[in-house]
Subunit: 190 residues, 2 copies
DNA sequence: TCAATTATGTACCGATAAGTACAGAACAGC
DNA sequence: GCTGTTCTGTACTTATCGGTACATAATTGA
């Protein structure tokens, strides 16, 4: 009894979740098959390059999501300060208050750091850049350093929240970074 | 021609470096053997529990190092502000300005997060605690939040520095956190 | 309706994984 | 020297790894 036909895009979110949960090396094709409900035949049909292509496709999809849902809105926001606030909202929602790991950050630390170096660097470079520009437009004092601090702070908050198994750690750190941005603006403009 | 006898403690640093480089899942016994120069016989003689025992031994050794070289001195410093400065120096040296990954942080994100949850949580809890106490003794305004911010910030700096392949990112973030602590003290005491 | 294309399951491949068994070398104390 | 313990290399087992081959089922388009 063959199963329903699925598209390549359909399986990407499930694929992402498996990689998030087990890391690149820890994710086996058997596990992927179980989670997605797809056999090797389908998997290699959609991703001829195997596991490595699956991972790059996932990273690509994540980059696309952030571009569309966070970076572009922030870039085009008429009110940069409000745009930054929306970015923090989206961050908290996406990472589920620290319960969900940042796959790009995890890959940066772990095995795949060489294999996926370009995609990893691009993701973070873009995030820092777009935030720096928004802070700049909002008249912030020290936009470059603040943008870098915020992106690093979010990653650190994920690590610490997971390590302590305490989502409150993530929530409070996001709150603090939000205030840091706000302060930076009121001082810069006031 | 058998090789020189080595002690279990001798191989722990090499073991740690392999885990840091390839992650828990990515590290095979063959790789460990190559790096340490030890065969399976020796490896399983020193670590009867296999790979998992090797990892816990490494985490234990790391915890011991931090306790002895960072936490205890910070706890017993007569001048807490100077002790905090020394902690940042030790942090920069240990993580080699972001070129070296924090194995505990990496494990927190990746596969071993359940297996080693206790050790991971203990390491970070202790770090935040000892820093909070030192800030408190130094008369800081908001010791608890600042301590948490610093530890998360260090982890985030490692992630970002590695992702962008730029040690300067780590150096500048450490500098900023250092200033955050200093500001917090001068305001609190002045 | 009937090719051509797109999906899918299954059987298989060589390589390698972690772990075990064990003979024997190095070493300690005597 | 001898003896018992500690250490080490080699060969092995069983399971799983990523990946391939290929027959067949579903779907598409004309």
């Amino acid at each position: 009894m063959p199963r329903m036909v699925r598209s390549r895009e359909d399986v990407l979110p499930e694929l992402a979740e498996v990689f998030r949960e087990f890391g690149y090396e820890g994710t086996s094709l058997a596990l992927i098959g179980k989670r997605t409900g797809l056999g090797k035949g389908s998997l290699y049909h959609f991703f001829p390059g195997g596991k490595e292509e699956m991972a790059t496709a996932v990273l690509e999809e994540i980059a696309g999501w952030f571009e569309q849902e966070m970076f572009a809105p922030l870039d085009q926001a008429v009110d940069p300060a409000a745009g930054i606030g929306a970015m923090f909202d989206a961050t908290d929602a996406y990472f589920r208050t620290g319960r969900r790991v940042c796959l790009v950050g995890a890959f940066a630390l772990d095995a795949g750091r060489d294999r996926f170096a370009g995609q990893i660097a691009g993701y973070f470079r873009r995030w820092v850049d777009v935030l720096r520009l928004a802070l700049d437009r909002a008249g912030a004092r020290d936009a470059a350093a603040t943008a870098r601090q915020v992106v690093a702070g979010i990653q650190g908050a994920i690590v610490l929240a997971r390590a302590l198994d305490d989502p409150e750690v993530f929530a409070s750190e996001i709150g603090r970074l939000r205030r840091t941005c706000a302060d930076c603006l009121t001082v810069g403009t006031g």
